[in-house]
């Protein structure tokens, strides 16, 4: 396997509520299928998603088949199978790992274990399958197991880990914000990560979901909050700015959530929780949550980019479910501008929330290593896997 030959990968992620399968070629996403439990569940009127395992078992094979079909490839043509080992819910992770192992064994394919957070952190590197890349000749060559013409792929975003790490873009700051995670991750090189700050209690998306549900906005409420916040006054309700005295870059959303909860109770008791109050509260709470993140980001950038003994960040990559929020992107860009830093975001909303395409992208960069160590039949779930080096 030469360094420049990008792998064709089937990726699977069943780390929590969503059953996801994808096919990637290098950094290009050929298919990205997500069977979201939230979609399945809403018609029943429940506000909660179903616990994943049973649904994963029912959805995983159809999801894999759909991804292969959309990409127009067969299992035999794959170079590898990638699967999320953690972090996540153990019984749910198990379902994806079992199927990945089964397929890897049946088709004699290397299995690439992937950390879900690494996948979110690298998700802005994913590229859509656009005509400008003219990927089809390469795909055809792959399918027919032909020798790859290197000239053909030189222009494509298909770099592997080694060539990528040679670029002068590191260190990179990855910001992963989702329902389960809120982390500032320093990427020294692909494969070398350091968590600089993280939530000490609730995740950003979780706080938005919980307060949104309190306001009667359903579940998951974070995307709804973004929509209704546009019609609300973000300065109407004042929330505290948490953890300003702590010297670290950690985040805390529990206190903001408690403040919102008490405010909602108070407004309810006074019969003041009318439609405008809900809109204003959603806007104010969302603003408070993001302001906390940008405050800590600014602090972190002052430390990293202005300290003489530290290498300044050259790029900032955003990932995770909350990264689809345009208000957040706007607020982040405003901070980053003063550091001449550009914010890179996933190319579509489907790459932000839990999905398998990002797992395929991460696997693309691990491809060379895992071949050397292809003891692929003994993978075990790692529900509390940290990417910290």
């Amino acid at each position: 396997m030469t360094q420049t030959s990008p792998p064709l990968i089937l990726a699977i992620d069943t780390s929590c509520d969503d059953t996801a399968a994808a096919v990637t070629l290098g950094r290009v996403v050929l298919a990205n299928v997500v069977a979201a439990q939230t979609d399945l569940h809403r018609p029943y009127g429940g506000v909660f998603p179903t616990v994943a395992k049973q649904a994963h078992k029912e959805n995983i094979k159809p999801a894999v088949n759909k991804a292969l079909k959309q990409a127009g490839v067969t299992l035999q043509q794959l170079d590898a199978i990638a699967v999320t080992l953690g972090p996540g819910l153990a019984p749910a992770l198990e379902v994806g790992i079992e199927l990945a192992q089964e397929l890897a064994k049946a088709w004699q394919k290397p299995l690439i274990p992937i950390n879900h957070i690494e996948a979110h952190a690298l998700s802005s590197l994913a590229r859509a399958n656009k005509k400008i890349y003219s990927i089809s000749p390469l795909l055809t060559a792959k399918k027919n197991l032909e020798k790859i013409d290197h000239k053909l792929i030189a222009q494509l975003p298909l770099s592997n880990k080694i060539s990528f790490n040679q670029q002068n873009i590191f260190p990179v700051l990855a910001i992963v914000v989702s329902g389960g995670h809120s982390e500032f991750i320093k990427i020294n090189q692909l494969g070398s990560y350091e968590i600089l700050g993280q939530t000490i209690d609730d995740a950003l998306g979780e706080a938005l979901d919980k307060v949104g549900r309190m306001l009667g906005l359903g579940y998951p409420a974070a995307p709804v909050i973004e929509k209704v916040a546009i019609h609300g006054d973000e300065n109407k309700f004042k929330f505290p700015l948490p953890m300003t005295t702590s010297g670290d870059f950690n985040l805390s959303y529990s206190g903001l959530k408690t403040a919102a909860s008490r405010l909602v109770s108070q407004l309810q008791a006074d019969s003041q929780l009318n439609q405008q109050a809900i809109l204003d509260l959603a806007a104010s709470f969302q603003y408070a949550c993001f302001r906390h993140l940008t405050y800590k980001l600014n602090k972190l950038l002052i430390d990293q980019n202005y300290s003489v003994d530290k290498k300044p960040f050259k790029q900032v990559w955003l990932g995770g479910g909350v990264s689809q929020n345009n208000k957040l992107r706007k607020m982040l860009r405003k901070i980053l501008r003063s550091y001449q830093l550009k914010l890179f975001t996933p190319y579509s909303k489907k790459i932000c929330s839990d999905n398998a395409a990002m797992v395929g992208i991460a696997a693309n960069f691990h491809w060379a290593i895992s071949l050397a160590d292809s003891n692929f039949l003994k993978l075990d779930r790692k529900p509390s896997w940290s990417i910290n080096k």
Partner: protein, 356 residues
């Protein structure tokens, strides 16, 4: 090892012998109004090490000290007004009053929470001994950890190894002591006094504590887990945690994590339902499962978390939003249910419902 029977010797002889042994860093078995105690000079590090070796497997269980008076107690602990009032009302007597320790005791005497239990035994010999020595002596019961309460010297000796027997320097044998319960332990370092052992002041099955800060919630969690430590080792522990959003359920879980010496941050498990942490506390290894059922509203979903399989000796399973899920999981029976209520911005009421 020397054994002197109180019936055969004068008080002066006994005191002189005991003080000589204690001053030299020796270990003395002595009678109290409750059970036989194991005493060493609590300010002498070598002597305390010897005592800890004698007691074996302490695993964080604190020692207590015997002093002659409240004035003497104040040299070694910070007695708040509540402690002072309890001292006044109940001491000398079969009570251990826990206060914040000063740092003039040997390492291993104060608890991991920085507190110390103080006894003023209602027993002339002990009062005379601590007065004459002018130092506190350890007041832990003379049995080795986990063995029968010692009312006779025979009770102690029948469970000792030769090595442990060799650590004893002096036994003051007062014959068989009346079958009094061990001392009642009252912790005054919390916003609400907590009775840890004994029934004189106990709160039956429900106990309400006020916590005035996150740190206090963390401390309360640790103290409760210490109380349940033997049960955790033998059977495992299931805790149901209730309270509205923002009440501090995860803060309590952080306290569990701190007690178990888990190095990772304990964060909300809402998104993935379950977070698991391996722990090693005093060489006991197990897993802490932190479960959040906020997203669950159906029996079949609750079943899919496979909680029953997590309950094993040494494992701790803490389930947030227990009232929401209990109807779906009749087979799960928490030994401890904690309801957390918000009283004000910083104040929480923690109600503990113990189910034996």
């Amino acid at each position: 090892m020397k054994i002197i029977k109180t019936a055969d010797h004068s008080k002066t002889t006994i005191l002189k012998t005991a003080i000589k042994v204690l001053t030299a860093g020796g270990l003395v078995i002595y009678p109290t109004e409750t059970v036989y105690g194991a005493g060493v000079d609590a300010t002498n590090q070598t002597a305390v090490k010897k005592l800890l070796a004698y007691k074996s497997r302490r695993e964080g269980k604190p020692l207590s000290i015997a002093v002659a008076s409240t004035i003497m107690a104040q040299k070694y602990a910070q007695l708040n007004s509540q402690a002072l009032s309890l001292h006044q009302k109940f001491l000398p007597g079969p009570y251990t009053i826990i206060s914040k320790a000063e740092n003039n005791l040997a390492d291993g005497v104060a608890s991991e929470f920085g507190t110390i239990g103080i006894r003023i035994p209602d027993h002339e010999l002990v009062t005379d001994l601590t007065t004459a020595l002018n130092k506190p002596i350890t007041a832990t019961s003379a049995n080795i950890s986990g063995k029968k309460r010692p009312y006779t010297i025979q009770d102690i000796f029948s469970n000792l190894s030769t090595k442990q027997r060799g650590l004893i320097d002096l036994v003051i044998d007062a014959g068989e002591l009346p079958p009094n319960e061990p001392s009642t332990v009252i912790d005054t370092t919390l916003s609400t006094p907590l009775t840890i052992r004994g029934n004189m002041l106990s709160h039956k099955n429900n106990l309400a504590l006020i916590s005035c800060s996150d740190q206090e919630t963390i401390d309360i969690a640790g103290k409760f887990l210490l109380k349940y430590w033997d049960k955790i080792k033998n059977r495992g522990l299931v805790i149901g945690l209730n309270g509205e959003l923002g009440a501090g359920k995860t803060m309590f879980a952080k306290g569990i994590g701190q007690f178990l010496k888990i190095p990772q941050l304990i964060t909300s498990p809402t998104y993935t339902y379950i977070k698991e942490y391996s722990y090693n506390r005093h060489n006991i290894e197990g897993i802490f499962y932190h479960i959040d059922t906020w997203k669950i509203d159906q029996a079949e979903n609750a079943q899919l978390l496979e909680i029953e399989g997590l309950i094993k000796p040494k494992n701790i399973v803490a389930i947030e939003w227990w009232t929401q899920i209990e109807k779906f999981l009749p087979e799960i029976k928490p030994q401890l249910i904690i309801d957390i209520q918000i009283l004000s911005d910083n104040q929480r009421q923690l109600t503990f419902i113990e189910k034996p």
